[in-house]
């Protein structure tokens, strides 16, 4: 069992790292507008699209114009998703005749998908029509991911350029991100998923007589048939994994056998979660003309992920001590994975559930293949912490890396001072303005997570939603606000968050968690682009060494985690200690 556990983890990480490099270089080429094979297919499409939309592709934007374009696009995108939801009853492709979504839930969901959070206050198969899933949610899965990548690319250009006033053209970056990266990958991935059993149909839900009922005589009170929700799931699952969106087609998300039917589909979906975020590290290295910089960031991310993974694995595999006391066999053996199986699927066992929980929260994906709410206190604390670190361990496509670069800037700043030089990163001096923007980026999630949780525990509407008693209920609330502010989307799903209070408050927080960070990041990109570049000497702090990796990890843990220690003490930590005391 031990061997199998670690061979699955190794296989995953090795495959991921092998695929990341070529994809990363390819993506760098896409954003640098280098000639490539797909040009023949998409160049005419691009050209026509720009002409129709009145976009001058050759004209670059200042950071302010970039922000304006981005905000308008996202505003209309959100509006569209909102309208589709509140009118779905009148729209086609609604075989189950699902009703219009309530205003607060529609607001929450629109924001959730535009911000790449994909928090789901609703339950997919009982709320959203096929039309809404496709034309509303799926579209945002693509474009919100492309938006994140565009922001990242703009920031990288800030490092690349000297004395420049522009940071690229948002429309071009957005379009190329979808056409050359997301769409081809999603297309291929969809078919693989279908081959494994992910459904893809426009038929209404199926109704099938149940096996046991057929045999029963006399018939019992139980329902004699099973209604099985289906739909065009594969196309959406592919992009929700690739674009770190995570919004499931069905309520149980990737735990649902129709979203994630086999261990192989699970393996591929896991890969898809981290594929683009990992590859973007290489794109970054390629674009700043120093691949070592990309490797450094990727190594840092991988190490933190691995650490988190091992902690969670330990607690989940050890199982629930309270159940041991009841005579339940939780030991791992040849015939069972053992461990804490509440809220986990048999085909995934402990290792794949843990691997998923850590990657989905490290990346701001938020899809789940096991219920985090039922994780052991410390096993569940790790995903929570990964979100609270600021979604920088891989993070969302684009957003994870730009968040990580902000941490790198802070690490460089403190370390730079320690070696007696005005800190510089990739040749750019880090001065008051950069630190100010970095400070905002770090403050925003902390502010909204803590204040949101405080608001919820002070209000009846907030408190009533908890499903579990005691400190675990507090964890549920804390997790919800962390997930929203970090644009993750996963949940301690016992929390009944589909209420006006949570829909509106979390919706607002998701907006700030996304755009409150994009704005300072783009402002910084503008400022960096305008700076001169300082050539590196042996007096320059090298940012590609193991020491820097260590420093970066320390910075992330200190700045990201120290903030939440007291809150965590009142949630998962005390729950853990209480459980030990109950034995």
């Amino acid at each position: 069992m031990f061997i199998n556990t670690y061979s699955q983890i190794s296989l995953y990480l090795i495959t991921l790292l092998l695929l990341a490099k070529p994809l990363g270089v390819y993506m760098a080429n896409v954003y640098e507008n280098n000639p490539m094979l797909l040009n023949r297919l998409f160049a005419p499409v691009e050209l026509a699209l720009y002409r129709l939309s009145g976009i001058k592709a050759a004209e670059e934007m200042t950071w302010k114009q970039y922000v304006a374009a981005l905000l308008w696009f996202n505003f209309f995108g959100g509006l569209a998703v909102f309208i589709v939801q509140i009118a779905q009853a009148y729209l086609p492709l609604n075989p189950q005749q699902l009703a219009n979504v309530s205003f607060d839930s529609a607001f929450n969901t629109a924001v959730s998908f535009v911000t790449n959070t994909n928090w789901q206050g609703y339950s997919g198969e009982t709320t959203m029509s096929y039309f809404t899933q496709m034309l509303g949610l799926s579209v945002q899965n693509f474009v919100s991911a492309a938006t994140g990548m565009a922001v990242l690319v703009a920031m990288i250009r800030g490092f690349q350029r000297t004395h420049a006033t522009t940071i690229g053209n948002f429309w071009v970056d957005l379009t190329r991100g979808v056409l050359y990266i997301l769409l081809p990958l999603a297309l291929v991935f969809s078919f693989i998923l279908v081959s494994q059993g992910v459904v893809q149909t426009f038929k209404p839900y199926l109704t099938i007589p149940m096996v046991e009922q057929v045999q029963a005589s006399p018939p019992t009170q139980q329902t004699s048939s099973q209604t099985i929700a289906v739909g065009p799931a594969a196309s959406q699952v592919a992009i929700k994994q690739l674009g770190t969106n995570g919004g499931g087609f069905f309520n149980a998300n990737s735990a649902h056998p129709f979203e994630n039917p086999t261990p192989l589909s699970n393996f591929l979906e896991l890969l898809a979660i981290l594929l683009i975020p990992a590859a973007l590290c290489h794109s970054f290295g390629t674009m700043v003309n120093d691949p070592r910089q990309g490797w450094t960031i990727l190594t840092t991310m991988t190490l933190v992920l691995l650490g988190a993974l091992l902690v969670t694995l330990h607690y989940e595999q050890a199982g629930n001590p309270l159940l041991n006391a009841l005579g339940v066999d939780q030991t791992s053996s040849l015939t069972q994975s053992g461990g804490n199986m509440e809220g986990k699927e048999t085909r995934f066992g402990i290792v794949n559930s843990v691997l998923w929980a850590t990657t989905t929260t490290a990346a701001s994906n938020g899809s789940v293949n096991a219920m985090h709410d039922s994780f052991m206190p410390l096993g569940g604390m790790v995903p929570l912490c990964l979100i609270q670190l600021g979604e920088v361990i891989f993070g969302g496509v684009g957003s994870g890396l730009y968040g990580m670069l902000i941490f790198a800037i802070i690490a460089v700043f403190v370390a730079g001072l320690m070696i007696g030089r005005t800190p510089e990163y990739l040749g750019k001096k880090m001065e008051a303005f950069e630190i100010k923007m970095a400070a905002i980026v770090i403050l925003i999630p902390a502010f909204f997570i803590l204040m949101g949780t405080a608001l919820a525990v002070l209000s009846d509407a907030g408190k009533i939603a908890t499903a579990n008693p005691g400190a675990h209920g507090f964890s549920e609330i804390l997790y919800a606000f962390s997930s929203a502010a970090g644009n993750n989307g996963s949940a301690f799903a016992g929390l009944s968050a589909n209420s006006p209070f949570y829909n509106i408050v979390l919706g607002i927080i998701m907006l700030f968690g996304r755009f409150g960070i994009i704005l300072p990041v783009l402002a910084m990109a503008g400022s960096l682009a305008a700076k001169k570049s300082v050539p590196a000497t042996v007096g320059t702090l090298p940012t590609h060494t193991p020491l820097f990796v260590l420093l970066l990890i320390a910075t992330i843990l200190l700045v990201g985690a120290l903030t939440f220690v007291p809150a965590l003490a009142l949630g998962p930590i005390v729950e853990h200690l209480q459980m030990l005391n109950q034995l």
């Binding site: 199998n4 976009i55 114009q65 308008w72 505003f75 209309f76 339950s123 198969e125 496709m134 579209v139 474009v143 429309w171 957005l174 979808v178 769409l183 969809s190 279908v194 494994q196 059993g197 459904v199 893809q200 426009f202 199926l206 099938i208 096996v211 046991e212 029963a216 209604t227 099985i228 929700a229 289906v230 992009i239 149980a252 735990a255 649902h256 056998p257 129709f258 039917p261 699970n266 629930n320 309270l322 159940l323 066999d329 015939t335 069972q336 053992g338 804490n340 199986m341 509440e342 809220g343 699927e345 048999t346 085909r347 219920m371 039922s374 206190p377 499903a467 579990n468 799903a493 016992g494």
Partner: protein, 194 residues
């Protein structure tokens, strides 16, 4: 500011058509041709009767069947129109009570069985639709099913072996048994080998 409105609307329209309509239609079209069985829910069909979906578990509560994972879906167990886990926290007293109850039922059904109860047999799955249980959970129920059905143990063991799915590609996932398929095989309605 205003110069971005037109491009924003056009781009949104373009991407809606491309990724919201063309893309899912293309995938559906392709899937229905290439993998029609999977795309439509991996249904188990026998003599034109649909017996269920291979991927969606069903509720079994009678002693002659192998039981699957407890399901926490609303209104009834294995409600495939509303997937859901229990979301019970590990320290929640309700969880302990539920597990205790499930243990009690299983023990009462087969008092002679003194093996420890495999964890997946008493804990709810994430989706509430988990079609599998671990081999350990099957083995735990072996004697009971054999006794109720008055079948020799080795015959059932052979069926279980047929219905056991190994790790995919030898590495991925966990060894497991599809309960619906095993029970259908028991009922001689469809062999696991088909």
């Amino acid at each position: 500011m205003m110069q971005h409105i037109k491009p924003a609307l056009f781009m949104l329209l373009f991407f809606t058509v491309l990724t919201g309509i063309a893309y899912p239609l293309l995938v559906t079209f392709g899937a229905q041709i290439l993998f029609p069985a999977q795309a439509n829910g991996s249904l188990i069909v026998n003599d034109k009767h649909t017996l269920g979906s291979e991927l969606i578990g069903q509720s079994f509560t009678r002693p002659e069947y192998f039981w699957g994972r407890p399901s926490a879906t609303s209104s009834s167990a294995y409600n495939a129109a509303a997937s859901s886990g229990s979301n019970l926290g590990p320290s929640n007293p309700n969880l302990r009570e539920l597990v205790q109850q499930r243990i009690k039922v299983l023990r009462e059904l087969d008092p002679s069985n003194t093996q420890p109860i495999p964890v997946d047999l008493v804990t709810a799955s994430a989706s509430g639709l988990d079609p599998h249980i671990s081999s350990a959970a099957v083995l735990f129920q072996l004697n009971r099913v054999a006794a109720v059905r008055h079948l020799p143990l080795d015959k059932i063991e052979a069926l279980v072996t047929q219905c056991t799915e190994a790790r995919q590609l030898g590495v991925l996932g966990e060894p497991r048994v599809n309960i619906l398929r095993l029970n259908l095989a028991l009922d001689n309605r469809r062999s696991c080998l088909e």
